[in-house]
């Protein structure tokens, strides 16, 4: 009994230390945006909402959020549509070599990382005139996300019954109609998971956006934030902290949405 109590005490102390370690860097994010004159040290703020008004006037802040939305939304749409088409066909038809193909794709997506591919990707984008375009970021990111997306969606599709599709076919529906009106609604949780995962990946992603976009007018929030605190003299703390908070909220909201609605299973990538 004593051993139990001591163990419980030790574990509580351990949890408190871990809690402090993880919460410490975040305190600043919670306090500085509301602070009248934020310093880099975490402190109890002189409460104000003025910083949020300032950010609306900054030319790059809102524009970069729009860029993040274009790039993230574009990649999410492209990945969902292409992955759904491919996963459906692979789930319903025995294409020769299907299982080998799926394994190869998975292998590729984990091996060809941004680090390993940044040089050829930069070269490729330069030659295809995709530097400083939203499309470039969307295509490059989608290529990396698709294999895992197909894999996960195929799993969802394998679990849906095929009887509806058979009867729809009897009534003369085309394959695309069947896919759109019968299969899609059945696998909606899967589609939502993939869409949120893709959007969150692009939203928080840095490397590809950083090397493919030189023009600050095209840069997403993640890159603008980096330039704000690394370039040009004293960082404007009020601006940076407020922007950090604004930029983090959608990701947290998306995460909460998926985990509450569909139950969070860690499909590895649901983060960044």
């Amino acid at each position: 009994m004593i051993r139990h109590t001591v163990g419980r005490l030790v574990s509580t102390v351990f949890l408190a230390v871990v809690l402090a370690f993880f919460a410490l860097p975040m305190l600043w994010l919670a306090s500085a945006p509301f602070d009248d004159s934020p310093a880099i040290t975490t402190s109890v703020p002189e409460f104000t909402l003025n910083n949020f008004a300032v950010i609306l006037d900054n030319p790059y802040a809102l524009g970069s959020i729009r860029n993040s939305l274009i790039q993230g939304g574009g990649a999410a749409a492209l990945v969902v549509v292409l992955a759904a088409l491919a996963a459906y066909a692979l789930s319903r038809v025995r294409v020769p070599g299907r299982d080998v193909l799926l394994y190869l794709l998975l292998l590729l997506s984990s091996v060809v990382t941004g680090t390993a591919a940044m040089v050829p990707i930069f070269e490729l984008a330069t030659r295809l005139a995709l530097i400083d375009t939203h499309l470039g970021v969307i295509l490059v990111v989608s290529g990396g996300l698709l294999p895992a997306a197909i894999f996960i969606l195929k799993d969802f599709m394998d679990e849906t019954p095929t009887s509806y599709e058979e009867s729809a076919r009897v009534f003369g529906a085309s394959s695309l109609q069947i896919l759109r009106h019968i299969v899609m609604p059945l696998v909606r949780p899967g589609l939502a998971t993939i869409a949120v995962w893709a959007l969150a990946s692009v939203w928080g992603g840095f490397l590809f956006q950083f090397i493919l976009l030189r023009d600050p007018d095209k840069a997403p929030g993640s890159v603008i934030l980096y330039t704000l605190y690394t370039e040009g003299g004293a960082p404007k703390l009020d601006l940076i902290s407020t922007f950090s908070l604004l930029y983090s909220l959608p990701v947290v909201a998306m995460y909460l949405f998926v985990s509450q609605r569909y139950g969070f299973r860690f499909h590895g990538g649901i983060k960044r």
Binding site: G7, A89, V93, T115, V119, L124, F151, L179, V251
Partner: protein, 307 residues
């Protein structure tokens, strides 16, 4: 549609249309994933540069880039830093802290558990540049929160201990994955086994070694492989230190960026990229072997975080 359909082809797609459905995805993957991987091999054999003479007319130089790299103290130093970074932050840091959290939280319910899980997860899902700046503010020399707390004004963490800084940073950033994986794994350990061991007088260490570890061995292996692979390819420390000072936190991903895209030596950078690719391949092949007779759904883990 007169052709008889096999039983599996319920939607009547037929092979032709099935291929048509798969093709757009395959083309995109082919152009932006497979082709770059292959092109790295070629680029790595040339003296290709971003600007200058070798930019217009690159020459094939064979294995020169590789032999140069292996003689270059900067590359070898970067390699060792990477080993330290992966070993320290992934294997020792994330895996051990993640398991400890899963183990301790397993018997807890209520507010403390939700709070701890919440902050650990939050540090995982925040955008990387936001996280970079939070740590920048925490470790700042003059006004950083850490110096204020420890009463060590003026201590330059990022300058004096750059590797330690990015190791601790990555433990903070990535422990959530290990915590969740081990939490799921520990659910497979029957409480009665632990109870029996406890009644027999086994210490916590003995319980872990003799009861828990044999049951979750595959999870441990999966965890170590994946977090090592991800950490090995992690570019995020760039937003904190940029590889500096004087290359003392220049892990391989940052080395490639600095050499190829900042320094303009695309050929030399591509050669190192290819080495990274080979090491990734070794990790992934071991992982897929492990996975072969497991449920498909867990394979989705390989989705992994993009850089």
């Amino acid at each position: 549609m007169a052709r008889p359909m096999s039983a599996v082809d319920a939607a009547g797609l037929g092979r032709g249309r099935a291929v048509g459905f798969v093709l757009p995805a395959l083309v995109l993957i082919g152009v932006f994933l497979v082709f770059p991987a292959l092109w790295t091999i070629y680029l790595g054999l040339t003296d290709y540069r971003l600007t200058g003479l070798a930019a217009a007319n690159p020459q094939v130089v064979g294995l020169d880039n590789y032999t140069d790299a292996l003689r270059d103290p900067r590359f070898l130093g970067s390699l060792w830093l990477t080993v330290g970074y992966v070993g320290g932050s992934a294997v020792l840091g994330q895996a051990v802290l993640g398991f400890a959290l899963a183990w301790v939280l397993r018997t807890r319910t209520g507010r403390l558990r939700r709070l701890v899980e919440g902050v650990v997860l939050l540090s995982w899902i925040l955008p990387s540049t936001v996280v970079g700046f939070l740590w920048f503010a925490l470790l700042d020399r003059d006004d950083g929160t850490l110096n204020a707390l420890l009463n060590t004004p003026g201590f330059a963490w990022l300058l004096d201990h750059p590797l330690l800084s990015i190791i601790v940073f990555n433990v903070w950033r990535g422990t959530a994955f290990s915590m969740m994986l081990y939490s799921a794994a520990l659910e497979n350990v029957p409480p009665s086994h632990l109870e029996t061991a406890r009644l027999a007088g086994a210490s916590v260490f003995q319980q872990l070694r003799d009861v828990v570890l044999p049951l979750i061995r595959r999870h441990v292996l999966t965890n170590l492989l994946l977090i090592s692979l991800w950490t090995f390819n992690d570019f995020t420390p760039f937003v904190l230190t940029g590889g500096g000072p004087e290359g003392r936190s220049e892990i391989l991903p940052i080395y490639v960026y600095n050499v190829a895209l900042r320094g303009g030596e695309l050929g030399a950078g591509a050669a190192v990229s290819f080495l990274i690719l080979l090491i990734n391949l070794a990790f992934a092949l071991v992982y897929l072997r492990l996975l072969r007779d497991r449920r498909r759904r867990e394979a989705a883990l390989t989705g992994g975080p993009p850089a």
